[in-house]
């Protein structure tokens, strides 16, 4: 692709290095936040444009990856405001307290299988993705950064502009939410358990 005269001469080299070194990380993060490929690509584009725009101000105080996570997170929040996504609401701990014996017994049928084997199960994989996508975005971001991208609470806090404590609080609620979603769907086709064992009682099933 020929470089248009409007782009500074050093653009392509600097951009290509940034892009080459971090495209997989940014796309993976974007896909986890957006839940599907096309929105993720939009977010990647926005992230790299903003990153290049701010490159001259980047002083190297943070790792490049943390800086890109921050840019992508902000871009995602802006994009999401324009789209219909999961409703924004606060998750309270009270809503995750099981109210019946049956709810305690609900669990993900993981016994005897590795997580990799479990995630080969299309239904479980889709259930997990849907559960994460249903999270209000500020909780989803904490879950993705900590449990999926593997950042520490301090790093996730730097990305989100929050204290470690606030990150941990959001992460905890996000985990409880996803657990409840997976359980409530009754991953009941597992051969080890009957459907009765998995169904939440309040559904009347």
């Amino acid at each position: 692709m020929a470089r248009p005269a409007s782009r500074p001469p050093q653009f392509d080299d600097a951009f290509d290095k940034l892009y080459r070194d971090h495209i997989d990380l940014v796309y993976r993060y974007a896909h986890r936040l957006c839940g599907e490929a096309e929105s993720a690509k939009d977010l990647v584009q926005e992230t790299f444009l903003n990153a290049y725009r701010g490159l001259k101000h980047f002083r190297g105080d943070a790792r490049v990856s943390t800086w890109l996570y921050t840019i992508a997170s902000r871009a995602c929040l802006r994009m999401r405001r324009k789209r219909k996504g999961a409703p924004e609401r606060e998750l309270s701990l009270e809503e995750f307290v099981p109210t019946s014996e049956g709810e305690f017994r609900l669990q993900i049928p993981i016994e005897g299988q590795t997580p990799e084997q479990l995630l080969e199960n299309k239904e479980l994989r889709e259930a997990l993705e849907q559960a994460i996508n249903k999270l209000p975005k500020k909780y989803r971001m904490a879950l993705v950064l900590r449990d999926m991208e593997g950042l520490s609470a301090g790093e996730a806090g730097a990305v989100m502009g929050l204290s470690e404590r606030a990150v941990k609080s959001r992460l905890h609620r996000a985990r409880l939410f996803v657990r409840r979603e997976l359980s409530a769907r009754g991953m009941a086709e597992d051969a080890h358990h009957s459907q009765e064992d998995w169904r939440p009682k309040e559904t009347g099933a």
Partner: protein, 103 residues
């Protein structure tokens, strides 16, 4: 429920409890669970919670399912970009660059 004034972050060592909706005792335990599975609790509180969990099958099942949820999240990877998509995306970004609006 039976404790009048629970200290912050403390978990009662009573052997069993009822899991009533919104019960203070349940919230106290629920609040600690991520820190518990992330191994971030002080040893004394962790030991106390472990004792409780050992005596309460409901809590044991609940914690196992929360731990499994975290494991699944950690192992879940979106499909990677193909070489073609990576190149196409790069071209799209370069085309979208407008210096007059990105100064």
């Amino acid at each position: 429920m039976s404790r009048k004034k629970p200290a912050p972050r403390e978990i009662s060592s009573t052997k069993s409890h009822r899991h009533e909706p919104g019960a203070r005792r349940c919230i106290d335990i629920l609040r600690q669970l991520s820190a518990y599975i992330d191994d971030e609790l002080p040893e004394d509180i962790c030991a106390e919670l472990r004792r409780h969990v050992g005596a309460c099958p409901n809590c044991e099942v609940f914690i196992a399912s929360l731990r499994d949820t975290v494991t699944l999240c950690r192992q879940h990877h979106p499909p990677p970009l193909s070489t073609y998509e990576r190149a196409r995306l790069r071209q799209g970004i370069l085309r979208a660059w407008k210096p007059e609006t990105h100064s």
